[in-house]
């Protein structure tokens, strides 16, 4: 996956530089972003959906699967603009890099605005390049057209999920059920189920396999998002690549938070409401919120939910109509997606 992504970006680079040498910086940033870090989960699920659907181990399938990393680059680059996150994978986020370039170059106008605008455009470019990489992957045209509806659904669902996520955040939603629905669209379908479906449809899978992959993909994807939520609060910044407590400062309405609010005493609720979403939250505030997430039992409940959902996924894949090779890898991927290490 790393190699085919690197090759694809080397193919695009002269095309953009030919428009203007000023665009070399854009190609550098995309390359840097894409080739450093990331668990490559979406491309792995897509590739193993393909293999699960009877596809052979061939380069075209790897290219098609790897294109999902470009979709994801768009999602992350735009996400960092929307959340005003300065850090991604332990490095400055894309909008931050362009804001810094603006300052360093002594350009006129608003450096922050320039950085955000550049990141919006570069995110769009990644989304466009993703589609191009899929279509030029080398897979047969009937396979591509057959898989297009899944591809479109995947991309539309993640946008819808992100909007619902924002809506929960600003409206102060506090129900585990609603938080789980956001996790389903923003993450479970987008990260696990749809990549599996895409690969399987490319390989010509029938409805039985598609349904079986949903039985594995949806609960696993939800467990993945819950793990991400827990790491966002309790994770080690050197592993998550994000400063500790960022999710709390942003006021994200995760299942973990919703579970705490559902179980909290009125006094505990008041403290959570006061601290959550405070952009100036310091280390003590983060520690206080962590304490409340433990005391209310929210952390334990979320860990239990992760374990239950992961088991549901493993039970589903155990009986799914896929080869034993694919089954073994999908069991491993379930562990990797829900692991306590980011």
């Amino acid at each position: 996956v790393q190699a085919v992504l690197a090759a694809e970006l080397e193919r695009q680079r002269p095309l953009v530089e030919q428009i203007s040498p000023d665009l070399a910086g854009v190609a550098d940033v995309v390359q840097d972003f894409l080739l450093n870090g990331g668990k490559r989960l979406r491309s792995a699920f897509c590739y193993w959906g393909w293999r699960g659907g009877g596809g052979a181990d061939e380069d075209a399938a790897v290219r098609a699967a790897a294109s999902l990393e470009l979709v994801h680059a768009c999602a992350l680059i735009h996400d960092d603009v929307m959340d005003a996150s300065d850090t991604r994978r332990g490095r400055p986020s894309v909008h931050r890099q362009f804001a810094d370039l603006h300052v360093r170059s002594g350009w006129r106008g608003d450096a922050e605005g320039f950085g955000e605008s550049a990141a919006i455009l570069i995110g769009n470019l990644c989304l466009i390049w993703a589609g191009e990489m899929l279509v030029t992957s080398g897979l047969a045209s009937d396979a591509l057209l057959r898989a297009m509806p899944v591809y479109d659904a995947m991309r539309a669902e993640v946008m819808a999920g992100q909007y619902l996520d924002m809506l929960e955040q600003v409206s102060g939603g506090a129900s585990v059920e609603r938080a789980l629905r956001v996790a389903r669209y923003k993450s479970a379908k987008y990260t696990v189920e749809r990549p599996l479906h895409l690969g399987a449809m490319l390989a010509g899978a029938g409805p039985d396999l598609i349904a079986a992959l949903s039985g594995y993909g949806i609960p696993l994807g939800e467990a993945f998002q819950l793990r991400d939520d827990v790491l966002g609060v309790f994770g080690d910044p050197t592993e998550t690549g994000k400063p500790a407590g960022d999710d709390l400062r942003e006021g994200k309405r995760t299942v973990l938070i919703a579970a705490a609010l559902e179980q909290a005493t009125p006094e505990q609720s008041a403290v959570i409401d006061r601290l959550l979403g405070d952009p100036a939250l310091d280390g003590d505030g983060v520690a206080e919120l962590r304490g409340l997430l433990i005391e209310t039992g929210a952390l334990d409940a979320t860990e239990q939910l992760i374990a239950d959902l992961t088991k549901e996924a493993l039970d589903a894949i155990a009986v799914a109509p896929v080869s034993d090779t694919a089954r073994t890898v999908l069991v491993d991927l379930a562990a990797s997606a829900t692991s306590r290490r980011d």
Copy 2:
């Protein structure tokens, strides 16, 4: 075009509402944006590229052409975020509408940030729906796959052009040549040449027709952008749908401005540099800049360039290998794209 866009949005609406009833507002905003206003130039050029390439008058081609209006909706919605424009087509821009919704709903957090994030996501959704509408237009799969490289180039070029545009703006570029290059990518290729190519490739056109369409499309598209630049400064706000002087307050480095700076005395240059890009520029400042654009001869020079480029386009289409019907419409479209009325 209006009818097929309306039908497409009615098809998408239940799909998003099924994810969550909270998404009804998103479908409303896209519908409202797409069905009110816009000259439909890109879909017209695509359709007539198709007819020029020998395609018949059929619904599938109209649907494919209309999908470009969704690409353009993405560009405009993101553009308004990047330029912090509160108005589009005489109505609040999409990010403004969502910021207002945030205030009206009494939600927590930053209303402006919520509006911008919603607009980024909705722009992305339009880009995704555009691709879906093209692929499901009903055209044959070999035609679609043949045309994909043009579609990808078109979308990547507009992103690159917009980035170069920003770069000129912040670096205070002042060369007519550089401003024209921005106009070529941001606008000429995206608005005229590539839509024509897309239609022609869908119809199976050969390299001769593609080259002939470039001969018409590039100069016409440049003339279109120059007309837009002139209207942005001298146009009637009730016709442009944008407040007078917005382009001047944003400090856009158009060909018009570059021509003024190239011809200005040092005193005139200093005044332009001081006023251009001042977000607080008032009516007097706008009038002063307009005066300088006239005095330096920049307005006349730009009008002359528009006339020359339009003539070049008309000369090219006069001898292009297209049917007389297509030729007649393309001549009319050239007039419409460069007309002094928006």
